[in-house]
């Protein structure tokens, strides 16, 4: 009798609950989503978000409205993320290694673990870039020069404590060379310095090779496998240096965002990532997709943290 009663009551109740829950989230998103980029317009964080924008609209029939909150190398935006309403309509771009290294340098208003990441959708692999007319034809040429002239080999790169800088430090250690790293304000300025021959090489990204294809040469890329856009450029791993790194970009939500919305958003971003057209466009610009969803994000972050913290200590960026 009891079991019967329970069955009678519970089954429809659960069914109703499930219907209610799915009914509510089936509506989501029912209005445009605000996507905050904690950097200025025109940078890579902006451009990759702009790549997502039309696909979001096409797949989910709502707009993704991109705005900017630059300052403190992203810190100003991330420090305010958790104060934003957690209704699923506020999302923010996050970048590695920034969100790992910055909070360890000083109190910047947020801690890495306070950010609720829901997806990592791509990375821009680090690469050693030289001008097309540079005497360095291979990575080995560059290493030979650096060995004979300690400190004389100059590299431009974007900022300090960044993917570029940490890759340079790691590489110097692995290759047993001493090179000089000159930090510039962003990748644009660092490329300009390379093209203007202010420096001899650049710790840049594969995207630099895509954008300035006729003017630069990539000597090596920091990927597991060669980039489809550059089939002739070896990876560091092939050449015997264990470096797989770059600037990872993903999306975070305020920590008050409910679990089911986090899951749903994560699946939505994953759906865009799975689109062949999106993949083609991103790869043509030199980016490489990664697919780290909400469930896998913790393991991914734990793994990355160790590597970045070690490199940042080596670089003297953190103590």
């Amino acid at each position: 009798m009891m079991t019967r009663l329970r069955r009678v009551l519970v089954v429809p109740l659960t069914a109703a609950l499930i219907m209610f829950a799915t009914g509510a989230s089936a509506e989501y998103p029912e209005k445009p989503i605000s996507y905050v980029i904690p950097f200025g317009p025109g940078g890579e964080s902006d451009i990759t978000a702009r790549h997502q924008q039309p696909f979001f609209k096409k797949k989910f029939a709502e707009d993704m409205i991109i705005s900017y909150k630059p300052g403190g190398g992203g810190a100003v935006g991330w420090a305010q993320l958790n104060e934003m309403p957690g209704d699923g309509y506020n999302i923010m771009g996050v970048n590695l290694p920034h969100i790992i290294v910055k909070p360890l340098q000083k109190d910047v208003g947020f801690k890495t673990d306070e950010l609720t990441l829901i997806y990592m959708f791509h990375y821009t692999p680090d690469a050693v870039v030289v001008k097309a007319d540079s005497p360095f034809k291979t990575l080995q040429d560059m290493i030979d020069y650096a060995k004979q002239n300690p400190g004389k080999m100059t590299f431009s790169g974007s900022g300090k404590g960044t993917a570029n800088h940490l890759a340079q430090v790691t590489f110097d250690k692995l290759a047993g060379v001493k090179t000089t790293y000159v930090a510039f304000k962003g990748t644009g300025a660092s490329v300009t310095a390379l093209l203007g021959k202010q420096v001899m090489g650049q710790w840049g990204y594969t995207s630099v090779g895509a954008k300035h294809a006729d003017k630069v040469r990539l000597l090596a890329v920091a990927m597991e496998q060669r980039h489809p856009r550059f089939p002739d450029v070896p990876t560091f791993k092939e050449l015997g240096f264990d470096i797989v790194s770059g600037a990872y970009r993903g999306i975070a939500v305020p920590n008050s965002t409910p679990e089911d919305i986090r899951e749903k958003l994560s699946a939505m971003i994953g759906e865009i990532n799975a689109d062949a057209e999106f993949k083609k466009k991103m790869e043509a610009d030199g980016f490489a997709l990664v697919h780290v969803d909400y469930r896998g994000i913790k393991a991914f972050m734990d793994e990355k943290k160790d590597g970045y913290v070690a490199a940042a200590k080596e670089a003297g960026v953190i103590k």
């Binding site: 300052g71 300009t192 093209l195 202010q198 466009k281």
Partner: protein, 502 residues
């Protein structure tokens, strides 16, 4: 398609409508302090997804050029640069408005902006690929010296008291160090405060330092905001054209300076305006009138800052390196459309580039009638609105504008604090312009110096890095000239007077 064909493609009703709409919208956006050209262009990006690349570029270019001109309104009528490009417009524009010549100043600014815009766009049309190399020739050291050249303006802006000007500029340099340092990533001078972490945002500092003191004075004094003549005098176009014709050398020189500075990725409209202003003052026969409402000052700045539009597009389209911040946004929009920038763009995709450049020229010409009409309306409303309405409206706009720059309450707090500080400093005879100069040039000088030093040290040739490069030496020569030419001229004049007295 030959160049005439491109011109006709740009003259279709659709493209002309985009150009006119863009210029009008840009002028309005630019006139509101805090709403910058970069923002206006960024908001438009989703709209341009569905357009042809050339049409999208025309619309964005028109908005951009309109916004740079619109920045002059607030500079002239409220002593507040609507965009950073209009900083130097306040130096003479506001004194002109104070004495009742605001209408003339706005018409002058319009003519100068159109001249500058045309010169910049013509350089883009004819000489873009070779000129793009200027962007590459400028290394860290050259930027350092360029910032130093800008700092020589201190003496001009300190209104007779050089010591106070130097103190103000040093204060500005200190302000520029606050926050996370751009290249070393050090956190500096924040005193543990979250508010200061993002540093002093230049636009919000401009609004605070220039606009708030004007507002306080408006409330504190019974006089009218600007002196008005009883009879309406129309556009004063004839007078303005005459003055522009007399200042044609100044207009041409400033437009060329604007184009060249626009090509430099590390500088922008504000630097172009300041450098052109400094040069106009140095080569003027009446340098003592600069800062007291000299029309040449307004013309120099306004022609130079609009010339940066065409100039900035040169490295953007040829090298894929944005010349100015709005160019960075436009470049991003082009990337997403699948347009690859580079020298081939000019040879193989003429239907995009040349149609766009003609469109930009058309938009610049349309700015003459559109800008004068909007300017007249802006002038009339600022002059006739009663103070009880004007002050709260402007105060409200400064708050919204400051917040809008990067959606940050911290910036609003900083704006108000700097504003009150600016007012107090003014009471003690300090001018705010040297502070602003220090704030803007500080980070450029610092980055250039640090990078130059690291590169020079790596090559074990520090001396050669700073004093051995031809462009750097050229700028150093200009610095010496602008520092010592007033002294030498004075001495010569004294000698001559003594001689004639004998």
């Amino acid at each position: 398609m030959d160049s005439l064909g491109y011109l006709f493609a740009a003259l279709t009703p659709y493209h002309v409508a985009l150009a006119l709409g863009g210029v009008v919208a840009g002028t309005v956006v630019g006139s509101l302090p805090g709403l910058t050209a970069t923002m206006a262009v960024a908001v438009l990006i989703p709209v341009t997804f569905s357009m042809e690349p050339a049409s999208a570029l025309i619309l964005m270019g028109a908005i951009y050029t309109g916004a740079i001109y619109g920045g002059a309104y607030a500079a002239i009528l409220l002593n507040t640069p609507g965009t950073p490009s209009a900083i130097a417009t306040t130096f003479d524009g506001y004194p002109m408005a104070k004495r009742g010549d605001g209408d003339l100043a706005i018409t002058l600014a319009c003519i100068a902006s159109v001249c500058g815009g045309l010169v910049g766009a013509l350089f883009l049309l004819s000489l873009a690929p070779p000129l793009a190399n200027v962007a590459l020739a400028f290394g860290p050291v050259e930027y350092f010296w360029l910032a130093m050249l800008g700092l020589t303006l201190i003496s001009a802006l300190s209104q007779g008291n050089l010591l106070k000007g130097l103190i103000g500029a040093s204060f500005g340099l200190l302000l520029s160090c606050i926050g996370v340092a751009e290249i070393s990533a050090d956190v500096r001078l924040t005193f543990g405060s979250q508010t200061l972490l993002g540093g002093i945002e230049v636009v919000s500092a401009l609004i605070g330092l220039y606009c708030v003191p004007v507002l306080i004075d408006l409330v504190a004094t019974p006089d009218r905001h600007l002196k008005v003549e009883a009879a309406s005098r129309g556009f004063r176009l004839h007078e303005a054209l005459q003055s522009s014709w007399q200042g044609k050398v100044n207009l041409a020189r400033s437009s060329v300076i604007g184009t060249l500075v626009g090509i430099l990725p590390g500088a922008g409209g504000s630097i172009a305006g300041l450098v052109a202003y400094a040069e106009a003052r140095r080569s003027s026969k009446k340098p003592e009138r600069f800062g007291c409402g000299e029309p040449d000052g307004v013309q120099a700045t306004e022609s130079a800052n609009n010339a940066t539009v065409g100039g900035g597009f040169i490295p953007t389209l040829v090298l894929g390196i944005p010349g100015t911040p709005p160019d960075a946004v436009i470049l991003g929009a082009l990337l997403i459309q699948g347009v690859r920038t580079g020298p081939n763009l000019f040879t193989e995709h003429g239907s995009i580039v040349y149609v766009f450049i003609w469109g930009l020229l058309i938009a610049t010409l349309l700015m003459l009638p559109a800008g004068m009409l909007i300017g007249r309306y802006a002038y009339r409303s600022i002059v006739t609105v009663p103070k009880a309405m004007l002050v709260p409206t402007v105060a409200f706009m400064t708050l919204i504008g400051t917040y809008a720059i990067r959606n940050s309450i911290s910036d609003v707090v900083i704006m108000i604090v700097l504003g009150v500080l600016g007012w107090i400093l003014g009471r003690f005879g300090f001018s705010v312009s040297p502070v602003v100069l220090g704030l803007i040039l500080g980070s450029i000088a610092e980055q250039g110096f640090v990078q130059g030093w690291i590169i020079g040290a790596a090559a074990e040739n520090l001396w050669g890095e700073f004093f051995g490069r031809p462009i750097a030496l050229g700028i150093v020569a200009f610095i010496l000239l602008s520092l010592f030419s007033p002294l030498l001229l004075n001495r010569l004049r004294l000698k001559r007077e003594l001689a004639s007295a004998d």
